[in-house]
Symmetry: C2
Subunit: 357 residues, 2 copies
């Protein structure tokens, strides 16, 4: 029962070899004779030594095997978003081969409690991935850059020389709109994500539209505007079925101006819009067509299969991880722009005959 944990020096002494030899046994960097290896391992076992102290190793090696993932929201909120979840999965996959793990970091913390920041400044990070760099994360970015840590930004406006992982949001959303136009729809509405943080559900005025700080929202809306410049836009407070439902109720409220198609900026919103349509006695897609965005599996939406833009969420994560890995190797990492794939489900159809209304 020793009072202090054994170190590699202890093991070496116990095994009757030098510390460097013992070290080599664990790192495997240099060949070691079988006999000595055995002795070292035995000594380690005897002393309850379980391997090099990661803290010491990371100081010596200059890297910790930890990649920080910075969210701007509460973690619980972030993981409510299936796309982010998938991305994390891809990211975890991609950094695993380099022997790295993911450290969850919240952005706000740095503000709230001054002294006890678990954060970007004090964590032993090799690299950082910022999720959704919408202004809020700006200073996180500065912090990280000041520390000289490689950064990759996913879905956000980074700045000069910082690799970004992005999506062709505008082009993709334009495809959905074009699809609807091809089907003959002329009265179209769109349900968007929040235009800025803290937004409370409501119609977007043109003033609002000029002041959209969240990039995804802006770009996807622009895609709709490319095809339907005057489509009314209702902005939800977040990507949830219930938000889509509430939005849908507004959108379908007036039978006279009721749209024949709704472009939603996320699958969850689309699911809610569909519910609202059903509620209003409208059939999908006979009376109303609805498109989503993301291409996730919406639990409980069956039998509908959304017409949507499938984004490579997991791939985005993997790409972010790959970029990080490259930068860590000292290679330059390029920004990547992913393309969404249009998927036609059973929630869109020809515009209903106007006369038959």
């Amino acid at each position: 029962m020793s009072t202090r944990r054994a170190t590699i020096a202890d093991v070496a002494r116990e095994a009757g070899v030098s510390p460097s030899t013992a070290s080599v046994v664990f790192s495997g960097k240099t060949p070691v004779s079988d006999a000595t290896r055995k002795r070292v391992l035995a000594a380690a076992a005897a002393l309850g030594y379980t391997g090099p102290d990661p803290r010491a190793a990371s100081l010596r090696l200059g890297r910790s095997g930890i990649v920080g993932v910075v969210f701007e929201e509460h973690l619980g909120t972030a993981f409510l978003d299936p796309v982010k979840t998938l991305m994390m999965d891809g990211l975890a996959d991609a950094v695993a081969p380099m022997g790295a793990g993911l450290l969850l970091l919240r952005d706000r913390d740095s503000w709230s409690r001054e002294g006890a920041a678990p954060s970007l400044t004090t964590a032993p990070l090799d690299a950082a991935v910022l999720i959704g760099c919408s202004g809020l994360l700006r200073e996180s970015l500065d912090t990280v850059r000041a520390r000289g840590i490689p950064v990759v930004v996913v879905e956000g406006d980074a700045g000069e020389g910082i690799p970004r992982i992005e999506l062709d949001n505008r082009e993709a959303q334009r495809q959905a709109a074009s699809h609807l136009r091809m089907l003959g729809h002329t009265r179209v509405a769109t349900v968007t994500l929040a235009p800025r943080s803290g937004w409370a559900r409501g119609w977007l005025t043109s003033d609002d539209e000029g002041d959209i700080t969240i990039e995804v929202t802006r770009d996807r809306l622009a895609g709709v505007r490319d095809v339907y410049p005057d489509a009314p836009a209702f902005a939800a407070a977040g990507s949830f079925i219930d938000e889509g439902l509430a939005a849908g109720r507004q959108v379908f409220a007036d039978a006279a101006t009721r749209p024949t198609a709704v472009v939603a900026q996320s699958d969850l919103l689309a699911a809610g819009v569909i519910r609202a349509a059903e509620e209003a006695g409208l059939r999908i897609p006979e009376d109303v067509s609805v498109t989503g965005f993301d291409g996730i599996v919406v639990d409980g939406l069956a039998p509908y299969e959304l017409t949507t833009l499938v984004q490579p969420a997991t791939e985005k994560g993997r790409a972010a991880g790959a970029a990080v890995a490259a930068m860590l190797r000292g290679e330059p990492a390029a920004s990547i722009r992913f393309t969404c794939e249009f998927h036609e489900g059973n929630t869109t159809g020809p515009a209903p005959d106007e006369l038959g209304r």
Copy 2:
């Protein structure tokens, strides 16, 4: 443009003070005269020094400010579970004051790739939290204990001397069953979570019931059995609305033996069961009562409000964090058993009159 990052020694030299003084300026552990502080800070700014290197600090201090969270599943899967998500939130909250962050760790890794494990053995952890210790995590536990790292187990069978955070699953589920009995229900079915990993959706035979390795499933089922020893049990493959829907279809398949109430082991399953009931033309709660478990907000379930057992998910996370914090301070941490709160919504009602069927 120096080739190497500045160290605190560089800053000290530049400021004309000793390294220890410079260190103190950053740590704030000892009073420093305003003049020297200013000089040191200025020097730091001039050299682009952003604070002590966390790696070195953690070696010196003997702690890294990192708490590992070990899941047995793929991360993407884990975060699909709203309860786990909330727990993570609570955990993040609880460790933040100690200036710690959460490192995501997957259990399987240690097996899959031998060399490149980002894992328990190589990560600079101060402590670890194991989520759902259902046998699979057993060796993770051993690894961590061997390293002498404090461990807390959430929802799982740990072993001697390891603090656990658990729920009164059986008692809580019994409350739901009792509630139904009080309402006069006699033909009751239950829809359970997976009895073991890799389970494919299906009815539970009594053989199966004797061989349930996942504790939550076993305990909640036992709670139902306390009241309805013979209720048929259908086990889903996971906690999803679609699984509940599939289960519900089976449960309501035969009009003759159709239950008047269904006890689901999760809110998501309950939501699916409700869908299945609607599909079968049954009204909730007039024809069929349904109870859930968890007390989460099921997105898109409105206007229903589940009768369910509300578990303090976030609190569980906080408690785990608190336990970790205590152990890190060298204090003993006790296991905690949380209690669910019965919440009566509008999905349960009196048993339908048998004659009226």
